[in-house]
């Protein structure tokens, strides 16, 4: 089903999308999207796919639970904010605060992501979120990570460093994978364990790299040609000694 979003206010556009899904539509194609916010917010249903032509506004797929969204352009800020399940493919860049508090599902961004990406993502048993960025990420990547997998590939760096300052600060669960060269001072705190990716870690992330590769037409072999470094929590209580509870 096609929806022309030209000149449609976000509130009406999202109502149209929700009504369509309620009526049983499973494949929606949006045309002429131009900054409308909250597309897919709170939407559920693994059978639903939404294709977005144009640039969606902030908080795309916020609190989303199951659907798949393809963005044929850049996404803005807050993409997959507190997303519970589903998949978002961005054929371009994504902005700041991607996957804040994300709890499951996957986000694949073809090129760069901005600041504060993957903050406080969390996981439990087989519900584990994944974000893969094909280009670079800026400051505070994976801050306070409690679970899930963050991957930044640096396939095209555009003169930027792979990650920015304060990468992984406060990590106490999950892992961050960095492909290729990065500046060690960007990962400079005592509670982050840094090491080459093990075979098991590469095997676990492989399906996501393949999904990324197939979505954006990048040969998997190219992705795997570089070594991956993994950032892991050294402790599940990195600030444990800082707080004193005795009376």
């Amino acid at each position: 089903m096609e929806i022309d979003a030209q000149g449609v206010y976000y509130r009406q556009l999202n109502e149209m999308i929700r009504d369509a899904v309620r009526a049983g539509e499973t494949h929606l194609i949006l045309r002429n999207v131009n900054g409308q916010r909250y597309i897919g917010a709170g939407l559920n249903g693994k059978q639903v796919t939404i294709e977005i032509n144009g640039v969606p506004g902030n908080d795309l797929a916020a609190f989303m639970d199951g659907p798949t969204i393809h963005v044929r352009n850049n996404a803005q800020d807050g993409c997959a904010n507190t997303m519970n399940d589903g998949a978002v493919f961005v054929h371009g860049d994504a902005g700041d605060v991607v996957g804040y508090g994300m709890r499951g599902g996957r986000v694949y961004v073809e090129r760069h992501v901005g600041y504060r990406v993957g903050i406080h993502m969390k996981a439990y048993k087989n519900q584990s979120p994944v974000i893969v960025a094909g280009g670079t990420a800026a400051d505070f990547f994976g801050e306070y990570l409690a679970g899930g997998t963050l991957v930044v590939l640096g396939l095209e760096r555009g003169g930027r460093p792979l990650v920015g300052d304060y990468c992984g600060t406060g990590i106490h669960g999950g892992e961050i994978l960095l492909r290729g060269e990065y500046d060690p001072w960007h990962v400079a705190t005592e509670h982050i364990g840094v090491g080459a990716a093990t075979d098991r870690e590469m095997a676990a992330v492989r399906p996501h790299l393949e999904e990324f590769a197939s979505a954006f037409g990048v040969p998997v072999a190219d992705i795997l040609a570089e070594l991956f470094t993994v950032l892991r929590p050294k402790s599940h209580r990195p600030f444990g000694d800082l707080y004193i509870g005795r009376p």
Binding site: R11, N14, R18, R37, Y38, A41, G42, N44, N58, D59, A62, F63, M64, D65, D77, G78, N81, T82, N84, V97, Y100, G101, R103, R116, I119, H120, K122, A123, Y124, K125, Q127, F140, E143, Y144, A146, G147, G170, H172, G173, H236, R237, F239, G240, D241, L242, Y243, I244, G245, R246, P247
Partner: protein
Amino acid sequence: MRIATKSNVSNEFRQVVDHDRCIRCKRCVMGCGFNALEFTDRVVPGPEPCVACHFCTTHCPQGCIEIERNPHARREHDVWSVAQQKRILRQAETGGVLLSAMGNDRPWGVLWDNLLLDACQVTNPSIDPLREPMELRTYLGRKPERVEVEYGPDGKRRLKTKLAPQLEIRTPIIFAGMSLGSISLNAQKSLAMAAKQVGALWNTGEGGLHADLRDYADCAIVQCASGRFGVHERYLKDSAAVEIKIGQGAKPGIGGHLPGRKVSADIAGTRMIPAGSDALSPAPHHDIYSIEDLRQLIYALKEATEYQKPVGVKIAAVHNVAAIASGIVRAGADYVYLDGFRGGTGAAPTVVRDHIGIPVEIALAVVDERLRREGIRHEASIICAGGIRCSADVAKAIALGADAVAIGTAALIAFGCHVCQQCHTGNCSWGITSQRPELARRLDPGVRSEMAANLLRAWTEELKEILGALGVNAVESLRGSRDRLRGINLTREMLDPLGVKHVGE
């Protein structure tokens, strides 16, 4: 760096046992969650310090155990209090941030105790609540600018104006947010059951909604805090309302803190973090760096809940709270929850708990006044909290402008809490703030929910007495009526922001 010797900080309390009357049942020893009692051939102090939680004294069948202040007398000093000296020594031994729990206990004064209510005498008859019905029902949510009425097809008048979603409560008192993790599942269940019974609301706090409490979601305000624990689509859609927690009175400006020892397997599952890890919520929401960002999150939540639920914002009472509240209302919030500096917590750095924030009485008064002056008071309800102790505090809060109040500590006291301020240790003997199964199981939701419900019922009846004395039969008639209050022992600087006259005026 921690000094590896036995601490020299002396115990504040000691247990005194009458060994002649003691029947050696060991109930006190088994009951103590703090490992502060032992049995050799008689009950003796244990390896850990007593915190005066009084589980032992309450349950001793012989009444033969007492808790005393440790009589290591020290010279009184206005600046170097014993508590202050101990804090310094503790920090010298550990190099760490001192944690405490519950609310600010310092002598900053309680403004509710400087306010007195009016009553009717002669010129305006008082009302007898036992004879006349009193309307305490309260609706929380955005009210329309004006109300239009039309005639329906049946010839009867009906409301034409479309109302924003409202929360209906039978009494203007709800339970404050206390997260699963900071308190036990049994404690939360007790609050939920009491709320449902009385027609009030409870609040999940920032720890998510446990599967066992799903039946109580429809009378729950669910929190969306900076850690986003437990926030998913069903959580939002099953709730009565969604509350964005920006801050809380006990620790303004910093995020939630659940120490790792309280993150049991059950908590780890509900919060989706590794068991045993500290659940530290970030200080700000990292997607809220401006008032426009707050508006964005409010509307993201409204979109996700299809505009069916009120979305409120909870803030700590700080300087300029009036301007902040105005921004929050203009950002689209359906209610503003003001938490004063006396608000409780399961864990907070002591210095933050005791020195940051302002009293809720002032915050409430200046926010209500500012919203009225800007012509937007009707756009959001005001809920206030932070050391509400009795129905008189509730009545005074309503007179200052609150639509409802929330109680946290008072409800826990109904569960047996003796405000020993050790919640962060997870050793609560009463099972209120512990995740240790052998302690949490002591809190019987069947009994404690009835006690919490009793508390709400009792305060509601007292409110009716107060309203009757004021000569009004609806809580709406008291709301914002500052003229029914007088200040006592207050300076002009205090009376002015409160908007209240002095007694005698």
